[in-house]
Subunit: 238 residues, 2 copies
């Protein structure tokens, strides 16, 4: 049987199109997944289809979040390093050292990925910004008005809450040491500010929590009645 060579064009038939869509979407997602694991990189695919309301997203939304949260766990790595150094038996030491090396490599790779990804994230952010700026925001003066209302509240709360210490400890050392032979250009500087940014300070005495709002041109866009479901939702506490 001669199965024709599918010309690359919009499939007119609704049913055929949907069928092809489902099949190919599946295949595509698999490909993304494979690329990600094989090459140890972060990737995502987003598919907006009329067939389902929500856009299809790979990987799970949580995975990106998880990646960023890794920064918080980095200091712990330092500790385990010290532990290994104080071990006594030679064999165990070698074994552990190898373990360590392996982990180190993995960790290095993860850090590297995270760095790249984070840097990239800002690019994506810019992109989305630009797209959303297309909405001719000049016409939406009421947004600013809304902003101002919320902001006055925020001002009050802040002024009451006292001064907020913004310099983070940033004691987390950068452990690039041995391991990976070629780490493709870690920049100490950037890495440092990322650490500073990521290193959490437990000082939560600042007055701004929960109710404070700075409007954001993101949201579900369906209703403008509720606050949490507003076109302009809170970027600081979603």
């Amino acid at each position: 049987m001669t199965r024709k060579k599918v010309k690359l064009a919009y499939i007119p038939s609704d049913s055929a199109r949907k069928a092809t869509f489902k099949k190919r979407k599946k295949g595509l997602m698999k490909k993304v997944s494979e690329l990600s694991t094989l090459c140890g990189i972060e990737a995502c695919a987003i598919i907006f289809s009329p067939f389902d309301g929500e856009p299809e997203i790979w990987p799970s939304p949580v995975s990106v979040r998880h990646m960023l949260s890794q920064f918080k766990n980095m200091p712990k790595m330092e500790q385990s390093k010290k532990m290994v150094n104080q071990d006594s038996f030679l064999k165990q030491r070698i074994a552990r050292a190898n373990e360590q090396l392996k982990r180190q490599r993995k960790d290095n790779r993860e850090k590297e990925i995270t760095k790249v990804m984070f840097k990239g994230l800002t690019t994506v952010g810019k992109l989305l910004q630009q797209d959303l700026n297309m909405l001719d925001l000049n016409d939406l003066g009421w947004i600013v008005e809304q902003n101002l209302k919320e902001i006055s509240k925020r001002m009050e709360v802040l002024n009451k809450g006292g001064s907020i210490n913004s310099s983070s400890g940033a004691t987390a050392a950068h452990s690039s040491s041995q391991g990976e032979k070629k780490s493709s250009g870690f920049e100490q500087k950037q890495q440092r500010w990322l650490l500073d940014l990521m290193n959490p300070k437990q000082n939560n005495t600042g007055g701004f929590r929960g109710e404070d709002v700075i409007m954001f041109p993101f949201g579900d866009g369906e209703s403008a009645t509720t606050h949490s479901n507003n076109l302009w939702s809170n970027p600081f506490y979603p």
Copy 2:
């Protein structure tokens, strides 16, 4: 020769990994492209690789922007519709009607896509928001301080600039009429607010332009010295 069946795991060798990455990235992009054209849907893929600094993005960043800008051109479609109706020769009329129908169909599809995509965009926006919220923004009190400084300025300007008219004309009619046999659930309501949102008002007398800043957790993240290159850039005027 027995070429092995590639086990799905991280490729340790730097060179092999990079080679595979390049090949597969290419293939993946092709797949996305094919899916998009075959099924008439919008999709994008973003790949963060340590091999190149910028993330790879499909399709071109402009395409997303272009899509949104289509909304602005919609009213023109109405005009061409009328023009066709006033034609006199039967043959020409039929020919033109068919042309029109074709365009209408295309346009309907594009509108539909845009609707879905726009709705999805907000979901993506939320996603990115959440991810960026991981930065423990509580620790960055200075951001809020910066915000407040800029905001006081904004308040002044706004109060001086008079009230800003926020109700847009929204006269653009919704033309779903004939054509596409199955338009997979256009929602009048949502379509309407999109139109309202998109329909530009030429009233640019409002006082806020250029210098006003509401800080945003997006940016290039490299330097914090210049304003335009700040970690927190201006969402309203990028």
